[in-house]
């Protein structure tokens, strides 16, 4: 009898403790004590940890640069930027829960998580709570097809990732390319990318001779390559992440799959891991990226893209930024610019300012359409030349000519 009572009381006590535990914190987040608090749920652990941490670096650069220059001007005063991080462990449901927790604490302005799934989950909650989110990496068009009004993505949409490379190859490659094959991961983002790429290829008169899907995150794509080999495509385009991207190039060499033109892959080639892991084999591979240090445009906080690269390198022991860092900084910048323009931290006003934003920045133009996507900005295409990704397309940002056929560039 006593045990029962003890247990019952225990359960009640535990639950009540839950109620009171964090009550004190609530509401104190965005207080007017000279700071501007922005929340960010990020994948610091779990399968997206690598990219999540790169994204945090970009947010950190934004915070330190803005604060070094005196903070965010809000209606005559200057506020120090404070970014609060929470780990969503790469899980969409946790990301959504964290957005609600930020809301409890009065944090209305948010920076996006890494990845499309987590961003999608967060965006739904942001919408319900009337918060405002600047999305740095969730590029899947599906997120923006839902009529959300509170989420703004600084980056070019997913459909552009492969399409930009198709365009670059058609524009620049000589001898001309006639056939392409696609190898795609099977997650939503990659499939959207592939769909965009295929549409572009067909529009530009190329023949798509293969369309193979592989499990997301696999390190073995030999099956897809073996199937594609006899169809002899001029170019193999991978709509992939890093693991599959490395595997395509590595295993194609092993299996003697040698397209006459070369390889092009989204996302993977611009990251240093790609060249590090592949060594000389990486030479000549094309990649698409949201940003390079030669991106056109500048702003008052970060200057030109090259200046941003220097700032970033100075903060992280000389390491050059990847596009993950730049797009994160750009998302933060969008919020800073919007707050300044609105002259307020009120989410309704900040939302209005974001919707009307039209600024040139180190990341290129920041201007959102009615769905919240940034379509004015172009993707850039890089090629690995001499062990480094260099921008080859579009013309206003290119550092070097495209070497073609890319497979010959290796030799």
């Amino acid at each position: 009898m006593r045990t029962r009572m003890f247990l019952t009381v225990g359960v009640v006590a535990v639950l009540s403790a839950a109620a009171c535990g964090s009550k004190g914190e609530a509401g104190g987040g965005a207080a007017d004590n000279g700071t501007l608090v922005i929340g960010a749920s990020l994948s610091l652990t779990g399968k997206l940890a690598r990219e999540g941490i790169l994204t945090r670096e970009g947010y950190d650069v934004c915070q330190s640069v803005v604060n070094d220059k005196g903070g965010v001007p809000v209606a005559g005063s200057r506020r120090q930027l404070v970014i609060r991080y929470q780990d969503d462990t790469s899980q969409p449901d946790t990301a959504g829960q964290l957005v609600d927790q930020f809301n409890d604490k009065g944090v209305k302005l948010l920076l996006g998580p890494y990845g499309s799934a987590t961003t999608e989950a967060a965006a739904a909650v942001v919408e319900r709570n009337g918060q405002v989110m600047a999305d740095s990496s969730g590029a899947d068009d599906a997120i923006f097809a839902k009529g959300y009004r509170q989420t703004f993505a600084v980056l070019s949409p997913a459909t552009e990732y492969a399409a930009s490379m198709v365009q670059a190859i058609v524009d620049l490659a000589d001898p001309k390319v006639r056939t392409v094959a696609f190898i795609s991961a099977d997650d939503g983002f990659s499939k959207t990318v592939t769909r965009g790429g295929i549409a572009k290829a067909e529009q530009l008169g190329l023949t798509v001779v293969g369309e193979e899907y592989v499990p997301n995150g696999t390190t073995d794509v030999s099956g897809a390559l073996t199937k594609i080999k006899p169809r002899r495509p001029d170019v193999i385009i991978g709509s992939v992440h890093l693991a599959e991207g490395i595997a395509i190039v590595k295993q194609a060499k092993e299996l003697g799959v040698a397209p006459s033109g070369g390889f092009a892959e989204t996302v993977a080639p611009p990251t240093p891991d790609f060249t590090q892991a592949l060594g000389a084999t990486a030479e000549g591979v094309l990649g698409s990226t949201q940003w390079t240090p030669t991106t056109a445009g500048s702003d008052k906080w970060f200057g030109f893209a090259g200046d941003y690269a220097n700032t970033f390198a100075a903060k992280f022991n000389g390491r050059q930024p990847e596009y993950h860092g730049a797009e994160a900084t750009a998302a933060c910048l969008a919020l800073v610019l919007a707050v300044e323009k609105a002259g307020s931290t009120d989410p309704v006003k900040v939302r209005g300012a974001l919707a009307g934003l039209d600024e040139q920045t180190f990341f290129g133009p920041l201007k959102f359409d009615s769905s919240g996507q940034n379509r004015t900005k172009a993707m850039q295409v890089v090629q690995i030349q001499g062990g480094k990704p260099v921008c080859v397309w579009p013309a206003n940002a290119s550092e070097a000519a495209l070497r073609w056929p890319a497979t010959k560039a290796a030799a």
């Binding site: 940890a49 193979e212 899907y213 099956g223 693991a243 490395i246 590595k250 092993e254 060594g279």
Partner: protein
């Protein structure tokens, strides 16, 4: 049209060759896992993390001294042996007699610790050890390629498995391990010190995992996030081959490699994993003792 047909045959031949090579690697990854499961009745969920430990060691040795990853198999094995011995002797032995949930949970905790330690030490970046022979392939008839790196890895996998079988069947220590696996009480009567033998077994399995990791690093790509996948492969290969049966683990790896490779040719590529899991469940339902005939410790199957 005739060319097309030839292409189909070549394609299948290529898939077979690649599947077999890949299968040997799976087998090498799985053999230590199978050993621990068979002898200690412990399913080591941290096995994949041990493999990665070997891969990172090989990477560091290559980075610092330019050591070939296949040469690094030895130091990787030695380091992992020490680690494995210590973990079993002073940690897993504490709960080794508990119900299976307990040992599963313990190794799950170990896996969390190990993977996060790897992330802290080496970051979550993808790595691959660049070697001179990456991409060099022997060309057979019909343009079927045999990648040199994978061929070496496969040969070493077979060699190591043979060595392990020799060790367990022909040496005093090996026989002590087998005896303890079959009947702990009886082993104690023969004055075999179970705590030590258990630790030896776990250490040996960790050493094999380390060696396998170096091979994985030489031919493929790895990051801490792969730990779970590697453990899962070991699971499947060990079960397909028959618990605690070392040649069986290699056979299970080969079957897995072939199923994935052929499945990838005949079906949409994304169904490959589904096929592998279907094979696993069907084998368990029909032949729980594994494909390699009698399981070494059949008595565990149906109490």
């Amino acid at each position: 049209m005739a060319g097309d047909e030839g292409g189909g045959v070549n394609q299948l031949a290529q898939a077979t060759v690649y599947g077999l090579l890949q299968g040997c690697l799976f087998g090498l990854v799985a053999v230590g896992f199978s050993l621990v499961w068979g002898v200690l009745n412990v399913v080591n969920l941290a096995h994949g993390a041990f493999v990665l430990g070997g891969a990172y060691l090989a990477w560091e040795l290559h980075d610092a001294f330019g050591l070939d990853p296949f040469v690094s198999m030895l130091p990787a094995a030695v380091v992992l042996f020490g680690l494995g011995y210590a973990i079993q002797r002073w940690l897993v032995n504490l709960v080794v007699n508990a119900p299976i949930f307990i040992t599963l949970l313990l190794t799950f905790g170990l896996q969390l610790l190990a993977v996060n330690t790897l992330i802290l030490l080496f970051t979550a970046n993808y790595r691959s050890i660049p070697t001179g022979y990456t991409g060099i392939s022997l060309v057979l008839a019909g343009d079927v390629r045999v990648p040199l790196g994978r061929l070496i890895a496969a040969a070493l996998a077979i060699g190591l498995t043979a060595a392990l079988v020799y060790l367990t069947r022909r040496t005093r220590t090996g026989l002590a391990i087998l005896a303890t696996g079959m009947d702990r009480g009886a082993a104690r009567l023969m004055s075999i010190k179970a705590a030590h033998v258990y630790a030896l077994t776990f250490g040996l399995a960790a050493a094999l995992a380390g060696a396998a990791g170096a091979a994985v690093g030489a031919v493929g790509t790895f990051s801490p996030a792969d730990a779970g996948r590697l453990t899962l492969f070991s699971f499947v290969a060990a079960v397909l081959g028959g618990l605690g049966n070392m040649w069986g683990a290699l056979l299970g790896g080969l079957v897995l490699g072939l199923v994935e490779s052929w499945g990838g040719q005949l079906l949409p590529g994304t169904l490959v994993n589904a096929v592998a899991f279907a094979a696993l469940v069907i084998v368990l339902a029909i032949r729980p003792q594994g494909l390699a005939g009698r399981a070494f410790y059949a008595s565990r199957l149906e109490a």
